[in-house]
Symmetry: C2
Subunit: 462 residues, 2 copies
């Protein structure tokens, strides 16, 4: 179906040469160049409206191509044009901002920072739109297509929610198509159906008013480091479940259909342990598979812990304070704002005598988000992916993402349901040296987008 | 009994003006000056042999005054002429190295860094020796008196054991008199009978080979911070006892006599909590009082703990490593070298699947030390203190020190039993701003020393 593959490759090659690292202030001009390049590419593709939207940080790019059908639904594509830093540079086989073709076992690959996350996933929409128009013989798409491609995703999207609020009218849509995710394997087309949310907290335990000498006081007063160890040891029970009362109350259980589809996702646990997880064993909530644990179940993780003397040798103190940073991954329909009070009550109930606890839970957090598996839009997505990958739509598997960016903001501010269409692979080394994209996956992504606009155009959701 | 109190005061005033802070290299010349001052003072007192013994660090001072009685026992006084740093200087009411007389509720006080720890405790021996000779009408003391006053105690005595080994012949003695401790209260004369020892260890737990993203991996692989919390939470049982198998095997139980004498030591727990312990509650091994817990029972204390992200905000990682520094306070007859293997075996048995543990236990440590309560030397000490404080020797109470310096080295290298004669008070603020000595305690200390030489001279221990 696709013509103009060379255009896609040439476009991506040019875009990937711009080191749009949003976390590094020295690269701010590059992030601006990246936005300008994308705006130009969207204009070349034919989008009648293309705007660069400044923020207090890096600029976003907005584009709109209205359908000539008056009652056509509106789809908003979300992606980002900034990229991760490249540390450590010495581990890159090819320079990260000199895109390099490599012939791999699954076909030609393109190696560069951002090759899939997220420039590749955005770029396939340029070709997808042209293919859609060519295949349907239309001058305008079957749905009104908007794109919002932000420039700060790899820095935590600090200004994204405000931008959504400010531009809510322009961004109004019937469905959001998130293009920042992946599929299970080159021959296993799949759709992400959910992303976990996040709540974070910092726990401080205070014992003596000052660091005490353990010779004089050791064994006779409470040590906040002991108290912290005892507290955090209770954060999970022996089934690996989080012990905060109420924590699981709003968790939407996995449906049998979803568990069945997730169980068909090929997953080699030993290869996963030896590779990306770099771990000696799996661990987690009893009764769930590793993919279910990382995608469909909430967790509590201690991300940092400190207190007392941490330098060379020893210093025999009972420290005044002990600290821990804890984050919670949340699944639908948990609410990040519920976790703070749950944690505070739990700490209060479990802190030992003589220790004073403070729990700080910054406002915000990230809500979990999930697609509606039984919606017409999901049917359209599955049909589009099925056609692009030559499989029955019923054989398109479901996967879940363990973390998330600002996707939940899109749902909350715009009030539209989410679909996920991204063509990354677990082996693409996103955020790591030697990031790559498998070019055949990009081509399939463009085809899927072309089909998706047609399929969605056949819906009349309002 | 005492003449020449003014000499003692003048001497101490001069010595305390020398800021002999051994921990600060900038004060190395002052530590050397302090040694020279003491050597001169000992010569003025009449010691026929006075030598400054250099070490790779700060110099020690050795003095010897042989008894003319051929079979007189030999006593070695241990103390130190270096002092703690003065931080924070702004909390000192009087400049730390300008000794200042203050009239307090218990009599005149002298405020200065080192006023009691340990220049005061050493200085009273100058007057004590003169008083001893005057009282007995002798030209030489009733026992051969040696002094070894080191210059690095506040820096951990790094060269002390080697000095003892090198000079073992010169230091040969029948009893060591440690003058670096205190008594229960001005009107409660007491003798220290034991000091706790120390063993230290560092525990490292390793999980993933690299820090992992908790979105992608959280809930599915072991987190070394969780493992560390679970491990350290098991270090004590619910009775506050250390759980290492074998840890208590060699602990010498408290005798009924010692418990009874310790229980008579005045101790206001609420005042202690509000004051030096600066804590909200007591905590410790069930079945023991606070004084027993800090003096007579071994403990394990986590002194430091760290791992993962500890900066501002949050970073959602499962860290590769978690660390803890742990020290154990030991009592007679535990051995510091036993603790490492006990800890290693315990960690090995308690570390969860998927976590690799490393336990580092540096060689050395500090052996606990204790006086023999039933020895003739202890009887001599109790009689000497009783006479100096006008109480029956049977009313001299026993106390224990929770920590120790190099006292055990004296026992181990010189093979001599320990006595403790020091006149510090719990309220003297050693190691803190506004350190002071109560001058009447110094006078009593000099008297007790004078009596002690006579009492020991009446013994023939070999
Ligand atoms: Zn991304
Ligand atoms: Zn001292």
């Amino acid at each position: 179906m696709l013509d103009h593959l060379d255009d896609l490759h040439a476009d991506l090659d040019a875009w990937l040469r711009i080191p749009s690292i949003s976390a590094d202030p020295a690269h701010a001009p590059d992030v601006a160049d990246s936005a300008a390049w994308l705006a130009d590419a969207l204009r070349r593709t034919g989008f009648p409206t293309v705007e660069i939207w400044p923020t207090p940080g890096a600029p976003a790019v907005f584009a709109e191509w209205p359908s000539s059908d008056a009652d056509a639904p509106v789809a908003l594509v979300y992606g980002h044009h900034d990229v991760q830093p490249v540390d450590p540079p010495e581990l890159w086989v090819h320079p990260p901002f000199e895109p390099t073709r490599v012939d791999g076992p699954d076909g030609p690959e393109l190696h560069a920072r951002g090759a899939i996350d997220d420039k590749g996933n955005v770029a396939f929409h340029l070709l997808g739109m042209r293919a859609h128009l060519a295949a349907t013989g239309r001058d305008t798409p079957s749905v009104t297509v908007k794109l919002l491609i932000e420039g700060e995703e790899e820095s935590g999207s600090p200004h994204f929610a405000a931008l959504l609020e400010e531009k809510a009218d322009r961004l109004a849509c019937d469905v959001v198509v998130v293009s920042d995710t992946g599929m299970a394997a080159p021959d296993v087309p799949s759709a992400v159906t959910a992303m976990r949310g996040l709540a974070d907290a910092e726990i401080t335990l205070r014992g003596p008013a000052i660091d005490l000498h353990s010779g004089s006081f050791g064994g006779a007063v409470p040590n906040p480091l002991h108290a912290l160890a005892q507290l955090l040891a209770k954060l999970h029970d022996d089934q690996g479940r989080v012990t905060l009362p109420g924590f699981y109350d709003k968790v939407r259980p996995l449906s049998d259909r979803e568990r069945e589809l997730m169980s068909r996702v090929p997953f080699d646990e030993q290869a996963w342990l030896a590779g990306p997880a770099a771990s000696r064993a799996t661990y987690g909530e009893a009764g769930f598979s590793t993919l279910e644990r990382t995608g469909a179940r909430p967790t509590a993780e201690v991300n940092g812990m400190w207190g007392g003397y941490t330098g060379p040798g020893h210093k025999t103190i009972i420290p005044a304070e002990a600290h821990a940073k804890v984050t919670f991954r949340l699944v639908a329909d948990q609410r990040p704002e519920d976790v703070g009070p749950q944690l505070k009550a739990w700490v209060e109930a479990n802190v030992p005598t003589g220790i004073e606890a403070e729990v700080r839970t910054p406002p915000g957090g990230v809500a979990p988000c999930a697609s509606d598996l039984d919606s017409p839009a999901m049917d359209a997505l599955l049909r589009a992916i099925g056609q692009a990958f030559d499989v029955d739509p019923a054989d398109v598997l479901f996967t879940r993402e363990g973390g998330s960016g600002p996707e939940a903001d899109l749902v909350e501010v715009l009030g539209a349901p989410l679909l996920f269409l991204g063509v990354g692979l677990p082996t693409d080394r996103i955020h790591s040296p030697n990031e790559r994209v498998l070019l055949p996956m990009l081509h399939r992504g463009a085809e899927a987008a072309a089909h998706l606009w047609r399929e969605l155009g056949a819906m009349r959701p309002r």
